[in-house]
Protein backbone atom coordinates (compact mmCIF):
# COMPACT_ATOMS: atom_id res chain seq x y z
CA UNK A 1 0.00 0.00 0.00
CA UNK A 2 1.38 3.40 -0.91
CA UNK A 3 1.80 5.96 1.80
CA UNK A 4 -0.97 8.53 2.15
CA UNK A 5 -0.20 12.20 1.61
CA UNK A 6 -0.56 14.82 4.35
CA UNK A 7 -0.20 18.61 4.18
CA UNK A 8 0.61 20.39 7.44
CA UNK A 9 -0.42 23.99 8.23
CA UNK A 10 1.61 25.83 10.91
CA UNK A 11 2.36 29.46 11.86
CA UNK A 12 5.65 31.30 11.36
CA UNK A 13 6.75 30.67 14.93
CA UNK A 14 6.51 26.88 14.66
CA UNK A 15 7.86 27.16 11.12
CA UNK A 16 11.08 28.58 12.55
CA UNK A 17 10.57 32.00 10.96
CA UNK A 18 10.98 34.54 13.78
CA UNK A 19 8.46 35.47 16.44
CA UNK A 20 5.84 38.20 16.72
CA UNK A 21 7.85 40.56 14.51
CA UNK A 22 7.29 38.09 11.66
CA UNK A 23 3.61 37.39 12.38
CA UNK A 24 2.71 39.47 9.33
CA UNK A 25 4.31 37.18 6.73
CA UNK A 26 2.03 35.85 3.96
CA UNK A 27 1.68 32.10 3.37
CA UNK A 28 4.61 30.16 1.92
CA UNK A 29 4.90 26.51 1.04
CA UNK A 30 7.72 24.04 1.62
CA UNK A 31 8.17 20.48 0.42
CA UNK A 32 8.11 17.93 3.22
CA UNK A 33 7.97 18.41 6.96
CA UNK A 34 8.93 21.43 9.07
CA UNK A 35 9.02 21.97 12.86
CA UNK A 36 6.33 19.95 14.66
CA UNK A 37 5.94 17.95 11.41
CA UNK A 38 9.10 16.03 12.34
CA UNK A 39 7.52 14.45 15.41
CA UNK A 40 4.21 14.07 13.59
CA UNK A 41 5.71 12.12 10.71
CA UNK A 42 7.57 9.86 13.11
CA UNK A 43 4.26 9.00 14.83
CA UNK A 44 2.57 8.39 11.49
CA UNK A 45 5.06 5.64 10.72
CA UNK A 46 4.30 3.78 7.50
CA UNK A 47 0.78 5.19 7.24
CA UNK A 48 1.53 8.59 5.73
CA UNK A 49 4.12 11.14 4.67
CA UNK A 50 4.00 14.89 5.14
CA UNK A 51 4.39 15.95 1.53
CA UNK A 52 4.20 19.66 2.17
CA UNK A 53 4.05 22.32 4.89
CA UNK A 54 2.29 25.69 4.64
CA UNK A 55 3.61 28.42 6.93
CA UNK A 56 1.78 31.70 7.52
CA UNK A 57 1.98 34.49 10.08
CA UNK A 58 -1.02 34.60 12.44
CA UNK A 59 -1.50 38.35 12.11
CA UNK A 60 -1.33 38.17 8.31
CA UNK A 61 -3.89 35.36 8.24
CA UNK A 62 -6.39 37.07 10.53
CA UNK A 63 -6.03 40.52 9.02
CA UNK A 64 -6.40 39.19 5.44
CA UNK A 65 -8.85 36.34 6.00
CA UNK A 66 -10.21 35.97 2.47
CA UNK A 67 -6.93 36.50 0.65
CA UNK A 68 -4.98 34.26 3.02
CA UNK A 69 -7.64 31.53 2.79
CA UNK A 70 -7.50 31.51 -1.00
CA UNK A 71 -3.70 31.49 -1.03
CA UNK A 72 -3.47 28.66 1.50
CA UNK A 73 -6.12 26.64 -0.32
CA UNK A 74 -4.21 26.86 -3.61
CA UNK A 75 -1.00 25.78 -1.88
CA UNK A 76 -2.72 22.83 -0.20
CA UNK A 77 -4.28 21.72 -3.50
CA UNK A 78 -0.90 21.83 -5.23
CA UNK A 79 0.29 18.97 -3.00
CA UNK A 80 -2.77 16.75 -3.75
CA UNK A 81 -3.10 15.54 -0.15
CA UNK A 82 -5.38 12.86 1.33
CA UNK A 83 -5.65 14.65 4.68
CA UNK A 84 -4.66 18.01 6.17
CA UNK A 85 -3.21 18.60 9.65
CA UNK A 86 -3.43 22.05 11.28
CA UNK A 87 -1.38 23.16 14.27
CA UNK A 88 -1.64 22.18 17.09
CA UNK A 89 -2.59 25.75 18.05
CA UNK A 90 -3.00 25.20 21.83
CA UNK A 91 -4.55 28.34 23.37
CA UNK A 92 -3.11 30.83 20.89
CA UNK A 93 -6.11 32.88 19.76
CA UNK A 94 -4.94 34.03 16.33
CA UNK A 95 -3.28 30.69 15.55
CA UNK A 96 -6.46 28.84 16.57
CA UNK A 97 -8.53 31.07 14.30
CA UNK A 98 -6.11 30.43 11.42
CA UNK A 99 -6.12 26.65 12.01
CA UNK A 100 -9.92 26.70 12.19
CA UNK A 101 -10.30 28.74 9.01
CA UNK A 102 -7.94 26.43 7.14
CA UNK A 103 -9.96 23.46 8.42
CA UNK A 104 -13.15 25.09 7.14
CA UNK A 105 -11.85 25.71 3.61
CA UNK A 106 -10.37 22.21 3.38
CA UNK A 107 -13.60 20.66 4.67
CA UNK A 108 -15.96 22.74 2.53
CA UNK A 109 -13.95 23.32 -0.65
CA UNK A 110 -11.72 20.24 -0.91
CA UNK A 111 -13.80 17.69 0.99
CA UNK A 112 -10.78 16.28 2.83
CA UNK A 113 -10.58 15.28 6.49
CA UNK A 114 -8.71 17.68 8.80
CA UNK A 115 -6.98 16.86 12.07
CA UNK A 116 -5.85 19.54 14.51
CA UNK A 117 -5.18 20.22 18.16
CA UNK A 118 -6.58 23.04 20.30
CA UNK A 119 -7.07 23.96 23.95
CA UNK A 120 -10.71 23.91 25.07
CA UNK A 121 -10.90 27.71 25.53
CA UNK A 122 -9.34 28.62 22.17
CA UNK A 123 -11.95 30.81 20.39
CA UNK A 124 -11.12 29.06 17.11
CA UNK A 125 -12.48 25.81 18.53
CA UNK A 126 -15.97 27.12 19.23
CA UNK A 127 -16.25 28.61 15.75
CA UNK A 128 -14.67 25.86 13.65
CA UNK A 129 -14.98 22.58 15.58
CA UNK A 130 -17.40 21.07 13.09
CA UNK A 131 -14.82 21.30 10.32
CA UNK A 132 -12.02 19.25 11.88
CA UNK A 133 -11.14 16.53 14.34
CA UNK A 134 -9.56 18.77 16.99
CA UNK A 135 -7.67 16.81 19.63
CA UNK A 136 -7.88 18.41 23.11
CA UNK A 137 -4.45 19.81 24.03
CA UNK A 138 -2.95 21.72 26.94
CA UNK A 139 -2.88 25.48 26.71
CA UNK A 140 0.72 25.87 25.56
CA UNK A 141 3.58 24.29 23.64
CA UNK A 142 4.85 21.88 26.34
CA UNK A 143 1.75 19.77 25.66
CA UNK A 144 3.06 19.16 22.13
CA UNK A 145 4.45 15.89 23.50
CA UNK A 146 0.96 14.46 24.07
CA UNK A 147 -0.85 16.37 21.31
CA UNK A 148 1.20 15.01 18.40
CA UNK A 149 0.68 11.26 19.14
CA UNK A 150 -3.05 11.86 19.64
CA UNK A 151 -3.31 13.76 16.36
CA UNK A 152 -1.29 11.12 14.52
CA UNK A 153 -3.49 8.33 15.89
CA UNK A 154 -6.63 10.06 14.63
CA UNK A 155 -5.08 10.81 11.25
CA UNK A 156 -4.06 7.17 10.80
CA UNK A 157 -7.57 5.93 11.55
CA UNK A 158 -9.14 8.44 9.18
CA UNK A 159 -6.67 7.59 6.41
CA UNK A 160 -7.46 3.90 6.88
CA UNK A 161 -11.12 4.71 6.33
CA UNK A 162 -12.14 3.87 9.88
CA UNK A 163 -15.03 5.64 11.58
CA UNK A 164 -13.74 7.62 14.55
CA UNK A 165 -16.01 8.59 17.40
CA UNK A 166 -13.67 9.67 20.18
CA UNK A 167 -10.37 11.35 20.94
CA UNK A 168 -11.49 14.75 19.64
CA UNK A 169 -13.81 17.62 20.53
CA UNK A 170 -17.37 16.83 19.54
CA UNK A 171 -17.99 18.18 16.04
CA UNK A 172 -21.68 18.72 16.60
CA UNK A 173 -22.64 16.35 13.78
CA UNK A 174 -25.45 13.85 14.21
CA UNK A 175 -24.89 10.15 13.57
CA UNK A 176 -27.88 7.89 12.92
CA UNK A 177 -28.34 4.74 14.99
CA UNK A 178 -31.13 2.37 15.97
CA UNK A 179 -32.23 2.76 19.59
CA UNK A 180 -33.92 -0.10 21.45
CA UNK A 181 -36.78 2.04 22.69
CA UNK A 182 -38.72 4.52 20.62
CA UNK A 183 -38.40 8.26 21.36
CA UNK A 184 -41.71 8.72 23.21
CA UNK A 185 -40.86 5.90 25.62
CA UNK A 186 -37.38 7.30 26.28
CA UNK A 187 -38.82 10.80 26.87
CA UNK A 188 -41.43 9.56 29.36
CA UNK A 189 -38.83 7.44 31.17
CA UNK A 190 -36.62 10.50 31.46
CA UNK A 191 -39.51 12.63 32.71
CA UNK A 192 -40.45 10.06 35.37
CA UNK A 193 -36.87 9.97 36.59
CA UNK A 194 -36.80 13.75 36.74
CA UNK A 195 -40.07 13.92 38.70
CA UNK A 196 -38.80 11.19 40.99
CA UNK A 197 -35.65 13.18 41.69
CA UNK A 198 -33.48 10.52 40.07
CA UNK A 199 -30.41 11.03 37.90
CA UNK A 200 -31.14 11.16 34.18
CA UNK A 201 -29.08 11.94 31.14
CA UNK A 202 -30.44 14.17 28.39
CA UNK A 203 -30.03 12.97 24.81
CA UNK A 204 -29.66 16.52 23.55
CA UNK A 205 -27.62 18.78 25.83
CA UNK A 206 -28.27 22.48 25.26
CA UNK A 207 -25.18 24.48 24.31
CA UNK A 208 -23.95 26.80 27.06
CA UNK A 209 -24.55 30.21 25.50
CA UNK A 210 -22.92 33.00 27.43
CA UNK A 211 -24.88 35.96 26.21
CA UNK A 212 -26.05 39.22 27.71
CA UNK A 213 -28.85 41.35 26.32
CA UNK A 214 -27.62 44.56 24.66
CA UNK A 215 -27.74 47.50 27.06
CA UNK A 216 -29.81 50.55 26.09
CA UNK A 217 -27.98 53.21 24.07
CA UNK A 218 -26.60 56.42 25.55
CA UNK A 219 -29.18 59.17 25.00
CA UNK A 220 -26.96 62.25 25.12
CA UNK A 221 -23.32 61.58 24.28
CA UNK A 222 -22.40 65.22 25.01
CA UNK A 223 -23.18 64.61 28.68
CA UNK A 224 -21.96 61.03 28.86
CA UNK A 225 -19.03 59.81 30.95
CA UNK A 226 -16.95 57.34 28.94
CA UNK A 227 -14.45 54.81 30.34
CA UNK A 228 -11.60 52.91 28.70
CA UNK A 229 -10.94 49.20 29.27
CA UNK A 230 -8.55 47.00 27.29
CA UNK A 231 -7.41 43.40 26.96
CA UNK A 232 -4.44 44.55 24.87
CA UNK A 233 -2.25 45.05 27.95
CA UNK A 234 -1.81 48.86 27.89
CA UNK A 235 0.04 49.83 31.10
CA UNK A 236 2.08 52.77 32.39
CA UNK A 237 5.76 52.61 31.36
CA UNK A 238 7.49 49.88 33.36
CA UNK A 239 4.34 47.79 33.94
CA UNK A 240 4.14 48.70 37.68
CA UNK A 241 1.79 45.81 38.61
CA UNK A 242 3.81 43.27 36.63
CA UNK A 243 0.77 42.07 34.69
CA UNK A 244 1.84 38.81 33.07
CA UNK A 245 2.49 38.74 29.31
CA UNK A 246 0.21 35.69 29.02
CA UNK A 247 -2.32 33.90 31.27
CA UNK A 248 -2.79 37.11 33.27
CA UNK A 249 -3.73 36.63 36.93
CA UNK A 250 -4.79 40.26 37.45
CA UNK A 251 -5.87 43.52 35.89
CA UNK A 252 -4.53 47.02 36.55
CA UNK A 253 -6.28 50.31 37.25
CA UNK A 254 -4.33 53.39 36.18
CA UNK A 255 -4.93 57.12 36.39
CA UNK A 256 -5.55 59.08 33.21
CA UNK A 257 -5.55 62.42 34.97
CA UNK A 258 -2.02 63.45 33.97
CA UNK A 259 -1.94 61.81 30.54
CA UNK A 260 -2.89 63.85 27.48
CA UNK A 261 -1.05 61.81 24.89
CA UNK A 262 0.89 58.54 25.07
CA UNK A 263 4.47 58.29 23.83
CA UNK A 264 7.53 56.15 24.51
CA UNK A 265 8.01 57.65 27.99
CA UNK A 266 4.63 57.06 29.63
CA UNK A 267 3.09 53.88 28.25
CA UNK A 268 3.77 50.40 26.94
CA UNK A 269 2.03 47.08 26.47
CA UNK A 270 2.41 44.10 28.76
CA UNK A 271 0.84 41.77 26.17
CA UNK A 272 3.06 38.93 24.93
CA UNK A 273 0.80 37.78 22.10
CA UNK A 274 1.47 40.41 19.45
CA UNK A 275 4.39 42.50 18.22
CA UNK A 276 4.66 45.22 20.93
CA UNK A 277 6.76 47.66 18.87
CA UNK A 278 3.85 49.85 17.70
CA UNK A 279 2.10 50.04 21.08
CA UNK A 280 5.35 50.79 22.91
CA UNK A 281 6.04 53.76 20.62
CA UNK A 282 2.52 55.17 20.89
CA UNK A 283 0.05 53.47 23.23
CA UNK A 284 -2.80 55.59 21.84
CA UNK A 285 -2.84 52.93 19.11
CA UNK A 286 -4.31 50.53 21.69
CA UNK A 287 -5.93 52.98 24.11
CA UNK A 288 -7.13 56.11 22.27
CA UNK A 289 -6.53 58.62 25.08
CA UNK A 290 -5.24 61.49 22.93
CA UNK A 291 -8.39 61.83 20.83
CA UNK A 292 -10.76 61.21 23.76
CA UNK A 293 -9.11 63.98 25.81
CA UNK A 294 -9.58 66.32 22.84
CA UNK A 295 -13.19 65.24 22.50
CA UNK A 296 -13.84 66.10 26.15
CA UNK A 297 -12.34 69.58 25.59
CA UNK A 298 -14.38 70.07 22.42
CA UNK A 299 -17.56 69.00 24.18
CA UNK A 300 -18.07 65.95 21.95
CA UNK A 301 -18.40 63.76 25.05
CA UNK A 302 -19.24 64.78 28.62
CA UNK A 303 -16.22 63.41 30.46
CA UNK A 304 -13.68 60.63 30.60
CA UNK A 305 -13.57 58.33 33.64
CA UNK A 306 -10.33 59.11 35.54
CA UNK A 307 -8.90 55.61 35.26
CA UNK A 308 -8.29 53.00 32.63
CA UNK A 309 -8.42 49.27 33.27
CA UNK A 310 -6.11 46.84 31.58
CA UNK A 311 -5.34 43.18 31.44
CA UNK A 312 -3.61 40.87 28.99
CA UNK A 313 -6.04 38.73 26.99
CA UNK A 314 -3.38 36.26 25.90
CA UNK A 315 -4.27 32.72 26.92
CA UNK A 316 -6.02 34.20 29.95
CA UNK A 317 -8.62 31.85 31.42
CA UNK A 318 -12.27 32.73 30.86
CA UNK A 319 -12.89 32.32 34.61
CA UNK A 320 -10.20 34.94 35.40
CA UNK A 321 -11.58 37.32 32.79
CA UNK A 322 -15.07 37.06 34.28
CA UNK A 323 -13.69 37.86 37.73
CA UNK A 324 -11.79 40.91 36.42
CA UNK A 325 -14.83 42.11 34.48
CA UNK A 326 -17.13 41.93 37.51
CA UNK A 327 -14.73 43.99 39.64
CA UNK A 328 -14.14 46.55 36.88
CA UNK A 329 -17.88 46.90 36.19
CA UNK A 330 -18.56 47.66 39.89
CA UNK A 331 -15.96 50.40 39.80
CA UNK A 332 -17.46 51.90 36.66
CA UNK A 333 -20.99 51.84 38.05
CA UNK A 334 -19.81 53.54 41.26
CA UNK A 335 -18.43 56.43 39.19
CA UNK A 336 -21.65 56.65 37.14
CA UNK A 337 -19.94 55.78 33.87
CA UNK A 338 -22.42 55.85 30.97
CA UNK A 339 -20.55 53.87 28.36
CA UNK A 340 -17.38 51.83 27.86
CA UNK A 341 -14.88 51.57 25.02
CA UNK A 342 -13.25 48.14 25.26
CA UNK A 343 -10.27 47.61 22.99
CA UNK A 344 -8.69 44.30 22.06
CA UNK A 345 -5.60 43.45 20.08
Amino acid sequence: MSKKRIVHYINNFYGGIGGEEKADIPPQKHDGKVGPGMALEKELGDAATIVGTIICGDSYFNENLEKASAEVQAMIESFKPDLVVVGPGFNAGRYGMACGTVAKIVDENLGLPVVGGLYEENPGLEIFKRHAYFVPTGNSAPSMRTAIPAMAALAKKLLAGETVTEGYFEKGLRVNYFAEQRGSKRAVDMLLKKIGGQEFETEYPMPAFDRVAPMPAIKDIKKARIALVSSGGPVPKGNPDHIESSSASKYGKYSLVDIVDFDETNGETAHGGYDPVYANIDLDRVLPVDVLKEMVKAGEIGSLHDYWYSTVGNGTAVASSKKFAAAIAEDLLADKVDGVILTST
Binding site: E20, A23, S59, N62, E63, G93, R94, M97, P123, E126, I127, F209, D210, R211, V212, A213, P214, M215, P216, A217, I218, K219, I221, A224, I226, V229, G232, Y274, D275, P276, V277, Y278, A279, I281, D282, D284, R285, V286, L287, P288, D290, V291, L292, E294, M295, E300, I301, A329, L332, L333, V337, D338, G339, V340, I341, L342, T343, S344, T345
Partner: protein
Protein backbone atom coordinates in the same frame (compact mmCIF):
# COMPACT_ATOMS: atom_id res chain seq x y z
CA UNK B 1 -24.10 50.80 30.62
CA UNK B 2 -23.41 49.91 26.97
CA UNK B 3 -19.97 48.65 25.90
CA UNK B 4 -18.45 48.89 22.44
CA UNK B 5 -15.82 46.29 21.60
CA UNK B 6 -13.22 47.76 19.26
CA UNK B 7 -11.12 44.94 17.84
CA UNK B 8 -9.64 43.54 14.65
CA UNK B 9 -10.74 39.88 14.70
CA UNK B 10 -14.50 40.38 14.56
CA UNK B 11 -15.35 36.63 14.56
CA UNK B 12 -13.78 36.29 18.04
CA UNK B 13 -15.75 39.27 19.27
CA UNK B 14 -18.95 37.62 17.95
CA UNK B 15 -18.07 34.33 19.61
CA UNK B 16 -17.40 35.83 23.03
CA UNK B 17 -20.73 37.63 22.85
CA UNK B 18 -19.95 41.32 22.35
CA UNK B 19 -23.10 43.21 21.33
CA UNK B 20 -21.68 46.42 19.85
CA UNK B 21 -18.62 45.75 17.69
CA UNK B 22 -16.43 48.19 15.74
CA UNK B 23 -13.80 46.55 13.49
CA UNK B 24 -10.35 48.11 13.81
CA UNK B 25 -7.12 48.38 11.80
CA UNK B 26 -4.72 45.58 12.79
CA UNK B 27 -3.93 43.30 15.72
CA UNK B 28 -0.81 45.14 17.01
CA UNK B 29 -2.34 48.61 16.39
CA UNK B 30 -6.15 48.44 16.46
CA UNK B 31 -6.55 52.22 16.74
CA UNK B 32 -3.66 53.45 14.66
CA UNK B 33 -1.53 52.83 11.63
CA UNK B 34 2.24 53.40 11.81
CA UNK B 35 2.38 53.64 8.00
CA UNK B 36 0.53 56.96 8.06
CA UNK B 37 1.85 60.39 9.01
CA UNK B 38 1.19 61.20 12.70
CA UNK B 39 -1.53 63.67 11.71
CA UNK B 40 -3.30 61.20 9.42
CA UNK B 41 -2.97 58.44 11.99
CA UNK B 42 -4.62 60.58 14.65
CA UNK B 43 -7.43 61.45 12.25
CA UNK B 44 -7.96 57.74 11.59
CA UNK B 45 -8.10 57.11 15.35
CA UNK B 46 -10.57 59.97 15.79
CA UNK B 47 -12.84 58.46 13.11
CA UNK B 48 -12.71 55.04 14.75
CA UNK B 49 -13.50 56.46 18.20
CA UNK B 50 -16.41 58.44 16.71
CA UNK B 51 -17.65 55.17 15.19
CA UNK B 52 -17.39 53.67 18.69
CA UNK B 53 -19.43 56.53 20.15
CA UNK B 54 -21.99 56.05 17.37
CA UNK B 55 -22.28 52.41 18.44
CA UNK B 56 -22.81 53.44 22.07
CA UNK B 57 -25.61 55.83 21.08
CA UNK B 58 -27.40 53.40 18.73
CA UNK B 59 -30.20 51.15 20.02
CA UNK B 60 -29.63 47.54 18.93
CA UNK B 61 -31.56 44.30 19.28
CA UNK B 62 -28.77 41.78 18.88
CA UNK B 63 -25.09 41.56 18.05
CA UNK B 64 -24.28 44.42 15.67
CA UNK B 65 -21.11 45.21 13.74
CA UNK B 66 -20.73 48.93 13.02
CA UNK B 67 -18.89 49.21 9.73
CA UNK B 68 -17.99 52.32 7.72
Amino acid sequence: MPVVHMCTIVPISMTVGANRIVPTVAIPYPLGNPNLTPADEKELRRKLVRKGLEALTTEIHGQTVFKD
